[in-house]
Symmetry: C2
Subunit: 432 residues, 2 copies
Amino acid sequence: MSKRERISIGLMGLGVIGSGVARALLERVDAIAQQVGCPLILKRALDCDISKKESAELPDQMFTSDPNQLLHDPEIDIVIEVIGGDTHALAYIKEALSTGKHVVTANKEVIAKHGPELRSLAAENRVDIRHEASVGGGIPIINPLKQDLLANKISAIHAIINGTTNYIVTRMAAENIDFITVLKQAQELGYAEANPANDVEGVDAVYKLAILATLAFRTEIHPEDIYREGISRLTSQDFRHAKELGYAIKLLAIAKEENHSVQVRVHPAFVPEGLLLAKVDGVFNAIEIEGDLTGKVVFYGRGAGPLPTSSAIVADVIQLAQSINLGLPPKPQPQPSQIKKITSISHIVTRYYMRLTTTDSPGVLAQIAKILGDHSISIASVIQKEADAQAQTAEIVIMTHPAQESAMQKALRETEALPVVKEIGNLIRVED
Amino acid sequence: MSKRERISIGLMGLGVIGSGVARALLERVDAIAQQVGCPLILKRALDCDISKKESAELPDQMFTSDPNQLLHDPEIDIVIEVIGGDTHALAYIKEALSTGKHVVTANKEVIAKHGPELRSLAAENRVDIRHEASVGGGIPIINPLKQDLLANKISAIHAIINGTTNYIVTRMAAENIDFITVLKQAQELGYAEANPANDVEGVDAVYKLAILATLAFRTEIHPEDIYREGISRLTSQDFRHAKELGYAIKLLAIAKEENHSVQVRVHPAFVPEGLLLAKVDGVFNAIEIEGDLTGKVVFYGRGAGPLPTSSAIVADVIQLAQSINLGLPPKPQPQPSQIKKITSISHIVTRYYMRLTTTDSPGVLAQIAKILGDHSISIASVIQKEADAQAQTAEIVIMTHPAQESAMQKALRETEALPVVKEIGNLIRVED
């Protein structure tokens, strides 16, 4: 077996994550060399922004702002990509794979959109592409799905995979404050970005769910297959009602396979407070996978930040380096084995929470109940409360039994058109 | 790359687990063949008890009661050992490795006691020994520790890794019933064995902790290094006090590294009810690992039973078979890199809950407080209640600040000797 004198690494992107990865590699150089069997050398670090050279505190000769210096250096065996986004990053990853370099990336957008293509390109060039950091930060989830759970037929994923939104809903639930106030504080604390749309509208969670569902169901799930709703419509009333009814509200990423069809959706959901997912608070993430053999298993931890992300990236790098040092070829990537149908959101069946403001007059509930009944939607419970004497309005909360989404949406439109209905406050799906 | 026509498996042990594994392999033969690249054939199944041939519902020619028919069959590539215990199982595993067969085992006792020796034997014979099922049933934990977390310096493990005891403490907490009553019901339900000592006295958890700590700290931790207390001394009073004070009581397996010394212990512990581990109920298991990069990650799921155990075993088998099919040699096993010191239980520092029954007379608390003070043990809170007027006794509950175990034990003996003290009800460590 060929033993190497050293294995060289190129790092692309020196933002918060990239600097963290560089530090992790440099700080534990001896421990890593022992695990790999030869030294791992961080040879070159790229950022187009020259000021990053200072902030990352790297030796001058290591830094470059020219991608070719890294991608076309024949000594570099492994490229770490932590630039993010899918413009430059995608081009660089392709170039690296094409020139026979292994790639480790944290880029959920690139993997969600181009995973199958990149895996094929890697296989053609007899190299590997790994992306444990793309979902769940430092929580091992990609490799467990690829390896440890592969005896299972997986039926469902329920995941809290966006720390920003979980921080916001946790504080809304605990403190009875509104979305905008918490969002602003989250921005001040660095938990939310200046432009928070990617997180609060569920885009980030969609990318991650696409990656998980593709692996779990051994089929290609694309971001555009996934139904998406963010958390910006949640109000403090919703959290108050949820609590009274025994639920937490979480932004869930859900994937289920039923009858060879996959439903994939990201939206706020009522989660019974007895379930472990209901107890995942703050910036923490949790991914629950249900397999036919293992039952429900949950992976929990910090889903973001430079240190957890470095944990996943450096582990991927070490495992690649171990194989390189032993002269082992990369294991073939699991190939999507089936094209599965995507279940349209209008065909899902679930329970619903519905909150609406009506005029405070007799017969209102009867009119709403009739519409629901006409659409075969059965009411599980009703709370009418908080009549506002001055405005002469009442708030009605309805929990339904399982109903089809298309029926619920029709009923909702008809309810909204009732003269006695002032406003549909919210409609939130329930995940038991 | 050499592709195989088939890969043959020998299965040793046809109890509940073995039958489950056989069924899992036979039922999903097509899916597995697709994942491996060639068919996996269950060629021979061994049990010394011939009646197992019937109950496992295997074809006649597959069954044998002669270990040599399996261990010396040159066609068999992988041996699955689910006999359990460390007499026959150990001998068979050694024989299998020596004759160049890969081994997959669920045997926590054998791995805990003989892991390093077996890994060396495997390496000598250029085969692999895998044991994902030895800890946590269907929860991926061994491979994540070996691979996904290997960039981390791990500082602590806190684990609920025995389903029987967690079932018992969960019911004791919820229903205010005593240990013996719950144990009997657990036995009737099949959650506890006829001879429950291995579970309730913490022996099973000790084996599992030895395996986890050996991997996490890259050193050899032996079962006899681990301090052990079971749950049989817990009473309904302890659970009532714990709840009032904001804690759950769990049988915890704990391993921590501080100053190049490792403390390893299995005992009941007060766990603050806000922590995820406090919410792990019933037969479920959870393993919390704390790494310097990833922070705390938790792995949760069913820790026992034929289906979850099959999930782990079959995944190990598939991964081995993938390598065999590609002609890849096994990756070198992580070798223990350091001999670390074991911290004696008398040197640990922790908080304590102490419950005692005293005479209901003035000055009692002062006497106890003086003893604690003499040993530099500071009291955090005291509850005195439930004076039994008839018996003229009082129950006192003391929570301490962090104190050294040796000091606490000395204070306990002196307290016990006080004429006013009728009985030390319990002393339970607190894990924050």
